[in-house]
Amino acid sequence: MNRLAVSLPGLELKNPIIPASGCFGFGEDYGKYYDLSLLGAIMTKATTLEPRYGNLTPRLAETPSGMLNAIGLQNPGVDVVVSKKHKELEKYDVPLISNVAGYTVEDYYAVCERVSKSPNVKAIELNISCPNVHKGGLQFGTVPEMAAEVTRAAKAAATVPVYVKLSPNVTDIVEIAKAVEAAGADGLSMINTLVGMRIDLKTRQPILANKTGGLSGPAIKPVAIRMIYQVARAVEIPIIGMGGVYTVDDVLEMFMAGASAVGVGMANFTDPFVCPKLIEQLPQRMDELGINSLQELINEVKEGIRNER
């Protein structure tokens, strides 16, 4: 038996380690340094209907135990993504989770339909942290009804399971999670970045050209753990946890909060080999903590949640 294997809708993963969306491109760059078939899955860069340039630079700033990014969804558009980027990854034995973004419900529908057609795309990660151009720029992910609406559209278009990626910048994440579960989501992925800012003391202006950016890294891990813990107690669908994962202890903390797999974002920048290292180190740490297999841990945590009720 593979102690690291985990099973989620559409995703039979040999291990739970998944590079997070936007932190791994379409794999081609890291593919030069290690065999991507080692990975549990790959969450690809956000894909939109049309090609997008993204924001002006500076797009990055550092913060204590974290970083801000404002890349702005740069990507070559769904046609190139499907015809080239997904294709190039077919040589690896690794399922893709395609991160889909848009500015209208129709955008999401169209992109979900097309990315579903790539044979190696086994699931969609619905990035609902985008402003809805028809609703005055309110983010889809911050209003339960809007989140539900875009989830329904994605489900109608997609032929693979849909994981909705929740934004942490909300008053009540449980309410959003329940709304997208009711709308048919097969799973959740959480958390996306917190909105933050840094100011340059010399220019007295925000460092990022976009002014605000998304905060990720260990700094946000306590917020991620709290949200996963709360949502795992409110929904039945599985959660892919992320936010500040750097070590095997972080991976296991996510599981104990209620996650069934784990995304790794910023850590790839600190150590490009972090994902294979985590996969290699997990068994020993599991031994020390008396964890036979991750699937067993998932079941025990679920059992614990049922007993709390």
């Binding site: 491109g25 090609p51 997008r52 340039y53 630079t57 990055l60 890349i71 740069q74 070559p76």
Partner: protein, 258 residues
């Protein structure tokens, strides 16, 4: 590209806030083109983004290389405290350095550097000189205290220096030398420094033979995060830009929008 632990051989403050750090390790075997860079992990656990620093000199024989940097913020300050025997986690060599294959013995190369943009030109100058290319340097510094490596560069060709405040050599911008090259017509121009200097160089010389080293904040350093982009000239697609880390850091002036 590899990730490696390199050993500190020596660290010296060679000018005000400017440090020369000599590193030793297998990684040097992979270094070749001038102005590739190392992506350096700052010791400690709160600064998690690596720092890109150009390779200023390659000493293949001793498996050593030199980086020269200014202490700007917390990261470089921490690195500046390393002493002999300490280790440093580096990723590299990254990026495409300056091309030199198009030049042959007897050709003329003009090297233009500003402040901390000067060090990456050292290995370039050395390699050009070894090839028999005639090298002229034009360097700008803030003031006398920050001037460094004048003697070292002189071994390869003439060094023209300007300081902002005139406290050393000529006062003013380094660009003032562009009109006083005494018949030296460059076959290639290599520039490294602030954006203003790069723009001046690409206005003064033919942009098809002018090579600019670009600087952008970086996260991955290997092309994956799209943090370090710069605009492509005459690009055909909206999503089409260059990543300084893998497509650069050196670009021909005609390729990019400054």
């Amino acid at each position: 590209m590899s990730q490696a632990i390199m050993k500190v051989v020596k660290q010296v403050e060679i000018a005000k806030d400017i440090y020369e750090l000599r590193l030793k390790g297998d990684l040097v075997k992979e270094m070749g083109a001038p102005d590739q860079f190392l992506h350096i992990r700052v010791p400690g656990n709160d600064l998690l983004l690596r720092r890109p620093i150009s390779i200023a000199e390659i000493d293949a024989e001793n498996e050593e290389c030199v980086i020269i940097y200014r202490t700007e913020g917390d990261g470089t300050k921490i690195i500046s405290q390393l002493t002999e025997g300490d280790t440093l986690d580096v990723l590299g060599p990254l990026g495409n350095g300056y091309p030199i294959d198009m030049l042959k013995a007897g050709d003329n190369a003009l090297l233009v550097g500003g402040g901390i943009g000067v060090p990456p030109l050292y290995e370039l100058s050395k390699q050009l000189h070894a090839k028999g290319v005639n090298v002229v340097h034009c360097f700008g510094f803030k003031n006398k205290d920050e001037v460094f490596y004048e003697k070292e560069f002189s071994a390869f060709g003439k060094v023209n220096i300007a300081t902002d405040d005139g406290s050393y050599a000529k006062k003013g911008f380094v660009t003032q030398y562009f009109d006083e090259l005494d018949g030296f017509v460059p076959d290639a121009v290599f520039a490294c420094g602030p954006k203003g200097l790069l723009a001046a160089a690409s206005r003064a010389f033919d942009p098809s033979i002018t090579y600019l080293s670009m600087e952008e904040r970086m996260a991955c350093g290997i092309g994956a995060c799209y943090g370090c982009v710069c605009e492509k000239k005459n690009s055909t697609s909206a999503s089409d830009n260059y990543r300084v880390c893998v497509d650069g850091p050196v670009f021909r002036a005609e390729e990019i929008v400054l």
